[in-house]
Subunit: 387 residues, 4 copies
């Protein structure tokens, strides 16, 4: 990797985090209405800590950490480097202040540039690249987290009047099925570009023939499911999903609300009417699966998705697949702290493929494996059908 | 009540809230690590809303509320005026900002002064007095809440270097038992001064003779209980208390921590060594009860406490009594929203008497009935023995 | 106490337990649908174990226990004699079988008679009397437990066609208020007859004048409360009670069910129509308190109840009082295992006075203090009003 | 299918259920210490109800059900035929008695024979075959359920002195790795024999080369993992598994107990010493996965398992695979009640392959897909390694 390119990439990614948090007040920076949400300030600090912990402390000669207690606050889940702070309390870290966290970012950035200037090893360059991709993941989370956090406030705060993710219309509106022939497909990443460890172990997968929709499901299609009683009929639902919607009184997608008889949705631009032709978002795996069953279709597997990726319109919504998040053949876990990055989460989660309108530029590829528990809806998730 | 005195009292109480929050940053103002804790900003807004809702809206001609949505955020538990905001989410109200809440305070203060200038009725003056006493209660909560909120931060933030409540030593250190003869005692409030509705219904109570300690229990006495295995022996504990300490692994008072073999406690002035002679604080009813059993004593009832109040040193710690929080004979509930102030909480709580070093000046009297669930420890609670 | 009377009492009480369990099959003997319910077989074994543990093991020379492992199964909550069996699993003790438990009863009875024949000490006679009163308490629980257990079975099993507690009509139906003058009253037990330790410490209580209803509340009165929307209006409810009915969707008394538009209730004689004039039963403290508020009345305190006991009709329903279960002045706890009988439960429970149609003959007196958590409804509880 | 063979099979399977329950008393028949355990009597009744509901009611002319309320008790999870009985209360069905349930079995058997004698359709024969396989699944559950239920009783009840599953030694003790070459493998069932719907949709799967152990893991190997601190080191564990063992204080397999320094295990023959060479059992997926990681190996996928099945020793333990339970390509769900049999459980469970010493004869095949949540340990589960 060219060091100048890396430095440019570093500056650009680090800067983008600050751009994203610009519309937020210092008070907005600490919101955490649910444990799975993290505050914006925490995202800013944690991504910085990642560089400090993984690169500067072991690798920059004479480096003295900004504050030796920060590891206790901003380590997310790396048990290799000590007991992480109680995740449910991330919103209660008023100290350090936002200002200090911004100073921390500047401090670490200066030292990262020093490291880049001192002939870094290949391993260091790769770790830096990992740190940047890690920060990009948090940039997307930051947006979905602030959306969730604002949504519980009856004042309906606005993040940005342009919004993100509202009323995204498909490139083409004609519904079209793509036919993929039976055959062998190459799955997983290879080559020089960056990828996460869970994409490695490129391998062959044999797939029977299948059809996959070129388009993602639109709001009006999902509305038909709701109006047909889809949330009231057990026969469309997985048993766990049926229990989940009933225990939580779930009857429509996250953020939806009927106001004076018309469906609206909370968005980062405030409360907005639902656009029938726009792409559905904020649904769980269970809802995606039930909708597919109601349609007489199914969700694609992650292998089918990857095999078809070049022929479909993707990039607007993370797409639930019918594949559990499990290791590829030959998956290997690093013995260092970064070994905790992906592998230990390979249970009870489903794979999502593609990317969303909240994904930073340059952070998507057809081998990317995103993963979430089947009930989670706060990402910009959508549905693509297969049969 | 003299209207000038009321105006002076109003200004002084309202001002004291701002003085208390001065050491806090805007980020500090939104901390809520547990549902029973409320953020400082919420305290500032809620106490203001109380005046607006109970006095200005019904009583000031032409009053237009500052923001018609604030009732959805800052109503604590008055169902008479609508569904209260989810208590567990008070820490996630970044909007309105602290600045706007301070403007809200100014706005309401200006209108309250208008009301005071327009020949208020007696009922209005009484409601204003209630609002001020209500705000004083929240001033004490604000301090105990910020202490709890800061205590979970490994940076050990300091609220004020003078601290509050640390190492408070008894006025006299000789332990002395006061004898109270069998006889009739007048319990409850009468006369012109302010009191809450739960103190009214002054009545006679006949008490057998008893002894009550002049002093509160000191840290060194409680340490002897710990070191004697008091937390390990079921026979000192109420059954519910025994379950509670075991399920929560409780082995010492809240905020205590052994550092390098020496007991310390988190205080509003930071982490400090335990002073053996200082008055014990931050213990639950169950711990108070167990300690008393270990001593071969018991806790006083609230009637014994009130009967003895003029002869004992009180005012440093809220003192757990062995009385459940229940209505006095003739207790009456107002049909208005303020009727929800006290009466509906008369179950599953124990009475505490006295006041603490965090209680605002002028907000204590010997008939005052404070009340909390028996497990709660974040107030400045202490122990007085009887036998 | 005369030893012959004691032996007669022993035989009669022990025999009554067997009479009560006669309608039950061996499978019925192990039902435990909720943790607070105990199976009939467990009641039979536990009451027997009480005599073995408290009297035979320490006091009968040469006594060898029936089975040394039974203490692990049939100790309810006496930590003095070891870790009690998990209460939630009492229904899963298929071994020992019912037959063996009956043999255990015979074995212990034979040895108790030996003890009675060998000049028992006064303390032993008192412990035997305690054991018999203990067994009588379990006889009442056995009936209410089997009622609860049968009630969840859609086959509506019948315990006895005569039933217990169904459609009990008041001795007189005219509603009458008894006036009690202000004055001093003697509360608590004294004299030679048996009582529990929590009734001791006879003392004087001064009471303001009050009125108390001669009658208990009838079904038709409570129906009027339901039909008036009593369960839907927060203003009648204690805050904890309001939370409880809403979280548990409680809208009428336990066991009630509307069948074809008519109220029925599951009873020990099967599903029966509600008799309007019969005495209401199976309500919680919260419901009793809310009903009283709706009526513009209140519940009596336990002291008022005892002061008025000779003038009211009681004995059909356990009557919720507005007194928390707390020690009398001078209450003392035995240092032996029996010291765990009562005192350790003195928190978070309310006192019930009187007795019910399920209380064994000879097991009631006006000083008796029963106690339960405010949500529990499976006893034959009722409401008496005061004002 | 030959009707005589079917009748013979019917009689033999139905009879085997009675044989299995012979050692149990009527009280033993109702044990349910945890919700996932079902009582023996319920198994006997539910499997009978399956024939009545799926075959006799729709298909035998003039059939009148034994008791029209039984559907409310013995329907497990078929929402198509009404609301199932609360699963957690299956142990509290004392009525109908065991005797009546046995009469119910006889009644249904007589009518099934009538059906078999009246020229049943192919669909009916297939449903009967499904009912028999269903009953065989419950026969295995019955054994594992009674083991779990007995294990919580300190009397250590014995089901049978011959026991089941204790100290099962491998056919050969030399550890041997089988090499499977890269290539295409046929997965899933085809042909005339019975299989469940989840095995259908035979398809080709391409697998990279791998090694799989001929042997299952023995107790002594797992003991080495325990003694090496395997339960104390996060790095071997999936994140969910680490949380699970810590929250539940899990440090060894289910039923293990150290008595006087020696490992024992509760078995259906009572408490027995652990035999080092015997095959490990009663471990969760998380433990299996952690052990494999500690060994530097992994678990096989269900496809690898099936591809290797003819070359390995299997049939003693259900073998956790690293495959989530998901549909095969072309999986179809019946529109009738039996459609609820398998498909709706395809989330959050892992596949187990093989069979165990508790599996009835004739009820195993290499395409069989068993499935359980990753924490469940009460089946006779074991570990086979791959790499």
């Amino acid at each position: 990797m060219n060091i100048n390119d890396l430095v440019d990439h570093y500056k650009s990614v680090r800067n983008y985090s600050l751009k994203l948090t610009k519309p937020l007040s210092s008070e907005d920076h600490n919101l955490q209405p649910e444990t799975f949400v993290s505050p914006a300030k925490w995202h800013l600090a944690h991504t910085t800590w990642f560089f400090e912990e993984m690169l500067l402390k072991p690798g920059l000669k004479g480096y003295k950490e900004f504050n030796s207690l920060f590891v206790k606050l901003f380590n997310s889940y790396y048990q290799t480097v000590g007991k992480p702070f109680n995740r449910a309390q991330r919103g209660n870290i008023s100290r350090p202040s936002l200002e200090e966290v911004l100073q921390y970012r500047t401090f670490v950035d200066e030292h990262m540039l020093k490291l880049f200037n001192s002939s870094p090893t290949n391993e260091q360059k790769e770790l830096a690249e990992l740190g940047l991709n890690h920060e990009q993941q948090h940039q997307e989370l930051l947006l979905t987290d602030i959306k969730f956090a604002f949504s519980i406030n009856p004042l309906n705060p606005i993040y940005s009047i342009n919004g993100i993710g509202i009323n995204v219309i498909q490139p083409s509106t004609s519904n079209e099925w793509i036919d993929i022939e039976e055959g062998m497909h190459t799955i997983g990443h290879s080559g020089n570009g960056f990828c996460f460890d869970n994409e490695l172990g490129q391998h062959q997968v044999f797939l029977p023939s299948f059809k996959i929709s070129k388009q993602l499901v639109a709001n009006e299609e999902y509305l038909a499911f709701i109006e047909d009683g889809g949330y009231k009929d057990f026969k469309f639902w997985l048993d766990d999903g049926w229990t989940w919607i009933n225990e939580n009184s779930i009857e429509w997608p996250l953020y939806w609300e009927k106001i004076d008889g018309n469906w609206h949705s909370y968005t980062l631009a405030g409360m907005k009417p639902i656009e029938p032709k726009a792409i559905l978002t904020h649904i769980s795996y269970y809802e995606a699966n039930a909708f597919a069953a109601w349609k007489g279709c199914r969700l694609p597997t992650e292998f089918e998705w990857e095999a078809a990726a070049s022929k479909i319109n993707w990039g607007k919504r993370w797409e639930w697949t019918n594949s559990a998040y499990l290791p590829y053949p030959g998956f290997e876990i690093s013995p260092n702290a970064v070994g905790e990055y992906n592998g230990k989460f390979m249970s009870n989660q489903m794979v999502l493929r593609g990317s969303s309108i909240a994904t930073p530029n340059g952070h998507s590829r057809k081998t990317y494996r995103n993963f979430f528990q089947p009930t989670l809806r706060w990402q910009f998730n959508g549905i693509r059908l297969a049969k």
